[in-house]
Every structure is written in C-alpha cells, then in structure tokens.
Symmetry: C2
Subunit: 151 residues, 2 copies
DNA sequence: TCGATATAGACAAGTTGCTTGTCCATTCCT
DNA sequence: AGGAATGGACAAGCAACTTGTCTATATCGA
C-alpha cells in the first residue's frame, strides 16, 4: 500500500448501495400502489423462492438466511394474509410444501411489473446500449446471493 | 405494452440487490476482522454522516431515515462503545454536536480500507477499463440516497 | 420586547421481527 | 429394528425500532 487507495472502490460501493435502496423503495411503492399494501419489501424474497417450484419452510429459511423459526413466522403471516398455502409434501410426511395462492401469484406478477417500471427511468437515462452493457457487466461480477441483502 | 416485458429489468434489480448484499457483507466482515467487532453494518451509515463535519441527532435521524428516538438510541450505543462523543453545539444550546472520537476515526479508516478490499475482486474480474465504465454508468444513474437502503 | 409556536432532544412504553432453546413426529442409515 | 438426523411446532427472550409525552431553548410576528 504505497500509493493512496483510489477513491473509486468506495464510490462503487456507495453507488451500488444507494441504487439498491432506490430500487427496493421504487418496487415496493408500486407493489403497494397495486393494492398489496400489507406486505413489506422483505416478503418479496420469500415469494421469489416459493414461486420457484414451491418450498418447505426449512428451504425458505436457508434461502432467506434466517432461522427456521423466523421463516415459519413469516409463512404464518403470509398464510394468514392469503398469499401462501401449506400443502402436504409429496414425499416427506414431516414436511409441508408451501405454494402461492392465486393472490400470491397476482402479487408476484405485480412485483415483476413494478420492477420493470422502477428500472425504466435508469434504462432511459443510459439508453438501451449502455444499459445492456451495464447489465452484462453486473452479471459478469457474478453475485451469488443469498438474494437477501444480509443487513 | 404490446411486447412482453423484457427480462433485463428484473435481472438488473436482482443483480444490484445481490451485489449490494455481497458488498455489505464483505465490508462488514473485514471491519470486524480489523477488531471493530461490536458494530453492525448499519452503523457505517451513521459514521459516514457524523464524519461529514459532525451532525446533530436530528440530522442523523433524517439521514438514516429513522425517528429521532431511534437515532438517539444508536448514538447512545456508539457513545457507550467509545466511537462518538456529544459536544456542545456552537450556535444552538438545545442541540448537541456529535463528533467521532479517535476510535471512531480509526474505524472509519478501517471501513474505507475494507471497501477497497471488498471491491478489488470485482475490479480484477472486469479489468480497469470495464470497471471504470461500470462506475461511470452507475454514477450516471444518479442514485440520490438516502444512503441507507430503506429495507 | 414579549408571547406564541416550532424545534432539539430526553424519557417511557409498546410493537415487531428476529433469536435461542426445547420438544415431537417422521425419515434415513446401518 | 433401532439409533441418529431432520422438518417443523411451541415458548420465551431480546434488540431495534415505533408512538407518545415532556422540558429547554430558539425563532418569529405583533
């Protein structure tokens, strides 16, 4: 470390974090506006996992990076609000397979549309070409998740 | 919306969120490894604001997007742990000006170094040129904060 | 200059989303 | 078949936030 650290890395982190915050807020606001006002941003990560072929509470917990108990509480809430249902697991009598209800799917579709809208201004700002390059480079960084930001 | 929505916007959000999560984790891990193991990622946003010329509890609250009471609690904790001190405000006898202690500055320097290290792998992966372009394009999106991601 | 209103922050209590700890039913391994 | 592992429910506790209230100081208009 003879040379002083370049300022870009800090700027990069700050930019990514600020952008992530704006995206979450923008998507959430639109989902709420679409009538799903009893959800919070974190729920989206659960929907994403459950919609992906169903999941058990344990799988969901691992995906979210929380304990089984925390996931179970979250599932309770989503069941109570009508987004998720517990069905019997086809191969394991201990487990329950979580699935989205029709309302759950409707919310997922709304969230997808919200994401498209939330990103649109950035897309316009850069233009299709630079935006595509940006996505390509971000993908090249290969962020592996857990999808849930762990703070 | 005659054409189906392009898949990129969703991918873009997911990429940015996953990357943000990795960055926060990577920076936090290094800060902890540097001996500041009684802090959590969220504290960094407070340090950033206070180091920027000092701040009152109210200003900090607004910056973090939480209530004054929540900010006051956080400040209590940072004072107790020796990172922050409350001094008299030069022009307002009601307010207290928050400043970093030497330990607070040491932690800030460690966090800056941690950010440089955490970003380094991505930098290497893309190469200087593409990385610089990435930073430039992210900056062009002009994310305005609040610096604190609001979920 | 004084009185009304706004602001900085302390104090108290309640809510919530997570944690650890424990237990039972079912499954897997030998 | 029997013992260890696993999915998940139940209970209690904690930590970070919230709303509500209060005092001291500041600001502004008459």
């Amino acid at each position: 470390m003879s040379a002083p650290a370049a300022p870009e890395p800090l700027a990069f982190s700050a930019l990514v974090l600020a952008l992530a915050g704006e995206l979450v807020q923008g998507i959430h606001d639109r989902v709420v506006a679409a009538g799903f006002d009893d959800l919070r941003p974190a729920h989206g990560f659960a929907f994403a996992r459950i919609s992906y072929g169903g999941a058990t509470t344990g799988e969901l917990a691992e995906h979210l990076g929380v304990t089984k108990q925390a996931a179970a509480q979250l599932v309770d809430e989503l069941v109570r609000k009508g987004y998720v249902e517990r069905t019997t697991h086809p191969t394991d009598a201990r487990a329950r397979l979580l699935r989205l209800t029709e309302r759950g799917w409707a919310c997922t579709r709304a969230a997808d549309a919200a994401a498209v809208e939330a990103v649109a201004p950035y897309r316009r700002l850069l233009g299709e070409e630079r935006f595509a390059a940006l996505v390509r480079d971000l993908a090249a960084l290969g962020p592996k998740g857990p999808i849930r930001p762990a703070w």
